[in-house]
């Protein structure tokens, strides 16, 4: 044994400053802990009685919300494993809008169970495999327990059924009013083929003052500004949309006007006015009565527009301009000139009205189905309005999910309870070591009713045991948690009309499980030394203090 093999130890393999964590204890358990800590934060926001959080982000912006996606986004999570959860939440929020909090809470719970199993002696890979099996069972079970269907998204009553639960988890107490608003807005813009529904067609304009109950749905688009000129209303008008400032065209190349004699000079100033006048006259002669621009309006141009009694309004946002184009059916023109007939849009009514103390301009189409509806939200504080907007966004997004899959399952924790019981029985029938993981996966669903009842101020253990009893009975699968705590803490979700959208639930469960699988499969974390140069805000060298 004379040969000496040099030891390839960590410090020599990597540059100094690298941090390596490996093994079950160092990597998996710690990652589990981190994610659980994150889910502890959002847990109290789950369900209708979830609490709000004030989040002040690093730009000193205040968010007051119980929308988990927003909370987590603004939290600035730095732990690498916990960041996976953040991504999963964002994905859920973007695709379906609802059940974002469920993703976080369920991930946390699954990992907590996994941690226990690791301590029992199972390897992370076995757990992962078991969870994977459980996931496929869950999807099957979900198909079976489907409770109801939205027959048609064109009926207000049916729509409200789905939207109400989603909104009540964000704005409990106002859900009836809000879901009414959202349903109305959706129906005004719903195309004949519901699958072509575009969430972008529902706009929210927030105007401070008054109270929520004075909010309204306006057909068409609402701009929180007044027209530039003296004309403030127009009917059945042709619309020209310019994506450029309304000004005398300027050359990009630097140029000077060269004058050779006095006559040229005299003509020059005249010429400019005449040019604009003829431009505007041409536009007027083409039948345009409303002009929309994204840039500034030159005084002289405005003057002539006023003379020809053409309404002119500025819409500085490119996105809004694009939407407006869709509403009026116009093509935006990149330079000032007469639009072709097919480039012009038309609008039935443009008018300036007063909402609260603010004057707003409304572009409205009288026909029954308009292409855009605007929800004008009123409320006392800005943070409150922002939160309302998020709730509405979620509500609108639900419809997107509904047109893909119109099935509903029971809410209020009833379907979770059912999943829990069914999975445990599946687990018991499974031979081998995966049995544990499947059973634990089932039990993890318990976290939903438990958290809902905890947040509602009920005794969770008591409620859970009652739910177990109810679900084992015949026809008990619709029993869920009663957040009003009027009887014994349970209610029939079917009677109370609490339904979740199947697709949202499916996607949330899948996302959560996938995150968990990723975390469980990690056995080593290698972190490079933060680069030099200007330090990122508040770096912590001991990010995972030993």
């Amino acid at each position: 044994m004379a040969l000496r093999v040099p030891k390839a130890s960590g410090p020599q393999l990597f540059r100094e400053g690298y941090r390596i964590m490996q093994g079950v204890e160092d990597a998996v358990i710690r990652n589990c802990n981190a994610i659980r800590e994150l889910s502890e934060i959002t847990r109290t926001s789950l369900g209708p009685n979830g609490k709000n959080k004030i989040v002040v982000n690093h730009l000193q912006q205040t968010f007051l919300t119980n929308d988990a996606a927003t909370i987590i986004r603004e939290l600035e999570v730095i732990h690498p494993a916990a960041k996976l959860v953040v991504d999963a939440t964002q994905q859920q929020e973007n695709e379906l809008g609802d059940a974002a909090n469920f993703v976080v809470v369920f991930t946390g719970e699954l990992l907590a169970k996994a941690e226990n199993m690791i301590r029992m002696g199972l390897t992370p890979l076995e757990i992962a495999k078991g969870y994977e099996m459980a996931l496929s069972h869950t999807m099957e079970v979900l198909e079976e327990i489907c409770a109801d269907k939205i027959e048609t998204v064109e009926s207000e009553k049916e729509l409200i059924k789905a939207i109400r639960t989603c909104i009540s988890s964000k704005q409990y107490g106002n859900e009836d009013f809000l879901s009414d608003l959202v349903a109305k807005a959706i129906l005004t813009v719903l195309p004949k083929d519901p699958s072509k529904f575009n969430v972008d067609n529902i706009r929210v304009v927030k105007i401070m003052g008054s109270s929520l109950y004075n909010s309204q749905v306006v057909k068409g688009m609402v701009f929180p500004r007044e027209p530039e000129g003296t004309v403030t209303r127009s009917k059945e008008a042709k619309v020209a949309v310019f994506s450029c400032p309304l000004d005398i065209s300027q050359t990009e190349t630097k140029g000077t006007v060269l004058l050779h004699n006095a006559q040229e000079m005299l003509d020059f100033s005249k010429g400019e006015e005449n040019l604009i006048e003829s431009h505007i006259k041409e536009i007027y002669d083409a039948g345009v009565r409303v002009v929309v621009t994204s840039g500034n309006v030159n005084d002289l141009v405005l003057h002539y527009l006023n003379r020809f009694e053409i309404l002119v309004i500025r819409v500085p946002s490119k996105f809004e301009l694009r939407r407006l184009c869709r509403v009026v059916g116009a093509t935006p023109l990149a330079r000032m000139g007469v639009p072709m007939p097919e480039e012009m849009g038309s609008v039935d009514v443009v008018e300036t009205i007063e909402i609260g103390g603010d004057r707003v301009t409304v572009f409205r189409q009288v026909e029954d189905i308009t292409r855009t509806a605007t929800i004008v939200l009123r409320g006392a504080t800005k943070t409150y309005l922002d939160d309302l907007e998020r709730a509405i966004d979620d509500g609108v997004n639900i419809v997107k999910a509904l047109v893909k899959d119109n099935r509903l399952i029971f809410g209020a924790g009833a379907s979770d309870m059912q999943l829990c019981i069914r999975l445990i029985s599946v687990g018991e029938k499974t031979p081998g070591i995966y049995q544990h993981a499947i059973k634990q996966y089932g039990e993890a669903f318990e976290v939903v009713p438990r958290t809902i009842s905890e947040n509602a101020g009920l005794d969770p253990t008591d409620v859970i045991s009652k739910l177990y009893a109810a679900h084992h009975k015949e026809n008990g699968e619709s029993i869920g948690v009663d957040v009003e705590c009027e009887n014994d803490g349970t209610l029939d979700a079917k009677e109370a009309g609490i339904f979740d959208v199947l697709l949202a639930k499916k996607s949330a469960i899948r996302l959560a499980t996938e995150t968990v699988l990723t975390v469980l499969n990690v056995d080593q974390v290698v972190m490079s030394k933060p680069a030099g140069g200007p330090k990122p805000p508040g770096p912590n060298p001991h990010w995972d203090d030993d």
């Binding site: 204890e25 358990i29 710690r30 934060i41 009685n49 609490k51 959080k53 004030i54 002040v56 982000n57 690093h58 912006q61 205040t62 968010f63 007051l64 119980n66 909370i71 986004r73 603004e74 600035e76 730095i78 732990h79 964002q90 929020e93 973007n94 690791i118 301590r119 972008d200 401070m208 003052g209 008054s210 109270s211 929520l212 140029g255 000077t256 006007v257 004058l259 050779h260 004699n261 006095a262 006559q263 000079m265 100033s269 005249k270 006015e273 005084d299 002289l300 002539y304 006023n306 007063e354 103390g357 006392a380 504080t381 943070t383 409150y384 966004d393 805000p537 508040g538 912590n540 001991h542």
Partner: protein
């Protein structure tokens, strides 16, 4: 494996992030809001004290207006900021009642605090408060008295009463009769369909006494900077034609990037002549319209001033845009951006135009305007801060009158309405069983803070008066409220202490929304502010605003 060792902390969030959760956090938020309420409560009511505030630039503001104080307080506590928002919302929506809304919201939280300390779930309190607020607003609708606005003579009388109630709580209460008349006149001159209060201009001229303030039915603005020749222009016209321009009447280059190349000396002179000809042709065109008063947003130079003076025309350049807009509203016509093709219909007219000395300044006054949908208040007074406060008070009063006109429903002030609502809710709470009874009763108790604070600020024995009030209301005296004159209780409706009902219902709804919002929070997570390596916020890259809105650049693709 050495599992189960000592718990090692795992850091999920960035260092410097402060998060606190649970009931303690809720209580601390409530305490912060109550502290704000304590600051502002002493300004409530006719005998409330004023606050003197010095901002970071050393500017002094004296005010009694809740919204102004809240704005200047510069509150950084995230929960307490909500109160600033509701004061502002109340100001924008109805104008008055800004102090009441903060005081009431604070009191709702104070009442809730005891429940939270006892371990009641805040959601139950929220539900109770929301229910109570709805009941209260419905009750206001029920008890509000409908004003008959059809009778012209009576109308003024009724509006005067509303305005004087609003003004009583302000600095100018001693002159309230004088100012109420002014305010009511001002609002009545507006377009009754539209009632756009921006059409009431307020000009401040330091010096003189408050009673020297005056209302101009039409437009008035301070004489603008003028050039030589101005003295020779006439300063008084009867039925003049008025032309409003957005043109610079001066010798100047027609276009910035124009260049003249001449090869003969003779041409040079021609060019100079041409420049003169351009401006003269503009002036000639103006004179040809027959206008006697020429106003422009842009400067009117020496040459033009002299030219107009020779032809007995009055001119004023550099008129502020909003003044000019109001002139157009009052006299008719429209603002012209060119001098050519001006037609008769583009000109306005008024009965008299005059330049008059007011205090140390000269003012241009347009009176007797045919389309007079606008008016101007010229305020006089001792000190700048004083006039500024008068302006704020008048603004509140104007808003009140506007709302009285719009909704024509009034209730009695001086705490009478609050006491009646309180009694109603207390009675109602006794009819329900369960926890909600407590919360609705708490809401009822909170309403009493308004009369109590009115008494405290006036130096009365609040306990005594409140007891009297409760008794009166129990007897069915719906409008019994605090009487400031006799240090007792009186029927405030008969004493003409009136307020529009929208002020009350909006205040109750806003305060409830704010209080419930604060109650629903159980956690504050505060990230450490990031040091911005670049320049201060003034010069953000394009799109930065959008990114800030979304936070951290991870925008949602929506």
């Amino acid at each position: 494996m050495s599992l189960g060792g000592p718990q090692i902390p795992v850091i999920v969030l960035k260092e410097g992030t402060d998060d606190s959760q649970g009931r303690g956090q809720l209580l601390s938020n409530i305490n912060a809001c109550v502290a704000v309420q304590d600051t502002i409560r002493t300004t409530l009511g006719p005998l409330g004290a004023d606050k003197l505030m010095v901002d970071d630039r050393g500017e002094v503001v004296i005010s009694n207006d809740g919204a102004t104080i809240m704005k200047l307080l510069d509150i950084v506590h995230p929960a307490a900021k909500t109160l600033v928002d509701i004061a502002r919302a109340q100001d924008a929506e109805v104008g008055d009642g800004t102090t009441s809304v903060v005081v009431f919201a604070g009191e709702l939280l104070r009442e809730a605090r005891t429940f939270v300390e006892d371990g009641v779930s805040s959601h139950l309190i929220i539900r109770g408060y929301r229910k109570a607020a709805q009941l209260a607003v419905n009750k206001i609708k029920e008890i509000a008295i409908h004003l008959d606005l059809s009778d012209e003579g009576k109308l003024r009388d009724l509006l005067t009463k509303c305005a004087s109630t609003a003004m009583n709580s302000k600095l100018i209460r001693s002159n309230s009769t004088f100012f109420t008349k002014m305010v009511v006149d001002a609002v009545l001159t507006l377009d009754q369909e539209d009632l756009n209060e921006n059409m009431i201009g307020i000009k401040k001229v330091p010096g003189g006494a408050m009673e020297d303030s005056l209302l101009v039915k039409g437009v008035a603005f301070k004489k603008t900077f003028s050039y030589a020749g101005f003295e020779q222009q006439p300063k008084f016209f009867k039925n003049p034609k008025i032309l409003c321009l957005d043109v610079e009447l001066e010798l100047k280059a027609e276009k910035d990037n124009a260049e003249v190349r001449v090869d003969k000396v003779q041409e040079y002179q021609n060019i100079v002549d041409a420049e003169w000809r351009i401006i003269f042709s503009k002036l000639e065109a103006i004179v040809a319209t027959g206008a006697k008063v020429v106003l422009s947003k842009l400067p009117i130079g020496d040459l033009a001033t002299q030219y107009f003076a020779d032809r007995d025309i009055f001119c004023a350049g550099r008129v502020a845009a909003d003044d000019l807009n109001r002139v157009v509203q009052a006299v008719g016509g429209s603002i012209q951006s060119t001098c050519s093709n001006i037609e008769e219909k583009h000109l306005g007219t008024c009965d008299t135009f005059e330049e008059r000395q007011i205090g140390g300044d000269r003012f241009n006054l347009f009176e007797g305007c045919p389309k007079a949908k606008t008016c101007t208040l010229i305020l006089r007074g001792g000190a700048d801060q004083f006039i500024a406060e008068v302006e704020r008070s008048l603004h509140d009063a104007i808003m009140i009158v506007k709302h009285a006109l719009k909704n024509n429903l009034v209730v009695a002030g001086g705490g009478a309405c609050e006491m009646e609502l309180s009694k109603y809710l207390r009675d109602y709470s006794l009819t329900i069983s369960g926890k909600q009874q407590n919360f609705i009763a708490a809401f009822a108790r909170s309403l009493e803070v308004i009369p109590r604070q009115l008494c405290d600020n006036a130096g009365f024995d609040s306990t005594n008066i409140l007891n009297k009030l409760r008794m009166q209301h129990a007897k069915g005296e719906m409008w019994a409220g605090v009487d400031m004159d006799s240090e007792g209780v009186a029927n405030n409706f008969e004493k003409f202490v009136w307020e529009p009902s929208t002020v009350k219902s909006n205040a109750i709804l806003s305060a409830t929304e704010a209080a419930t919002l604060i109650l629903s929070v159980d956690e504050t997570i505060k990230n450490e502010p990031s040091q911005q390596p670049q320049a201060p916020q003034g010069a953000l890259p394009p799109g930065a605003a959008n990114r800030i809105m979304r936070g951290r650049g991870r925008g949602m693709p929506r």
